[in-house]
Amino acid sequence: DTAVSQTPKYLVTQMGNDKSIKCEQNLGHDTMYWYKQDSKKFLKIMFSYNNKELIINETVPNRFSPKSPDKAHLNLHINSLELGDSAVYFCASSQLTGDTDTQYFGPGTRLTVL
């Protein structure tokens, strides 16, 4: 059973389009995250939700909008895609929001903007 899953695995699209990435976790965790990994493998947090409430919102263009319909799902919607949005996006989850809680990552979604 996959603990943290993401769809799609690959996403190729044109500049200016709007796209969504979906994430689901079956670990019973309360907190979910979105990370962006750039071409140099640098990993940076974008957002974090706890029980559908936004708790971390890093400096990210407002073209990016996370949505959490329930605590097992966290989707990422991106408007007006730009070339610089090309990256691998990882979803993660942790049991709570404690500083010491281990985060478990999904397999990633490779977004390519042409």
Binding site: T31, K41, F42, D99, F105
Partner: protein
């Protein structure tokens, strides 16, 4: 603000030899330190973490890490490397009151050769 440094982009080691992947950190307050491994085209897998207590932490696949407060380091070690250990390794730091916001290092590519 917290930061993590992984001074080596790549570490090469012969199979059977001990390996060390270096990590130093900077935080305000108590640090919480994590190691993750990323295999090609995969998500990050949790290896181990230091929260408090014994400075030597043992984790998955025979890896261990030693927390050194005076040197602000958390180096990853393994007594005998395997070819299958070849992957990208990330160190990450959180801190008290950080709300489980992890800051990741830039990653170290480990290559284990026969």
């Amino acid at each position: 603000a917290q930061s993590v440094a992984q001074p080596e982009d790549q570490v090469n080691v012969a199979e059977g030899n001990p390996l060390t992947v270096k990590c130093t950190y900077s935080v305000s307050g108590n640090p919480y330190l994590f190691w993750y491994v990323q295999y090609p085209n995969r998500g990050l897998q949790f290896l181990l973490k230091y929260i408090t207590g014994d400075n030597l932490v043992k984790g998955s696949y025979g890896f261990e890490a030693e927390f050194n407060k005076s040197q602000t380091s958390f180096h990853l070690k393994k007594p005998s490397a395997l070819v299958s250990d070849s992957a990208l390794y990330f160190c990450a730091v959180g801190f008290t009151g950080g709300g489980n916001k992890l800051t990741f290092g830039t990653g170290t590519q480990l290559k284990v050769e026969l």
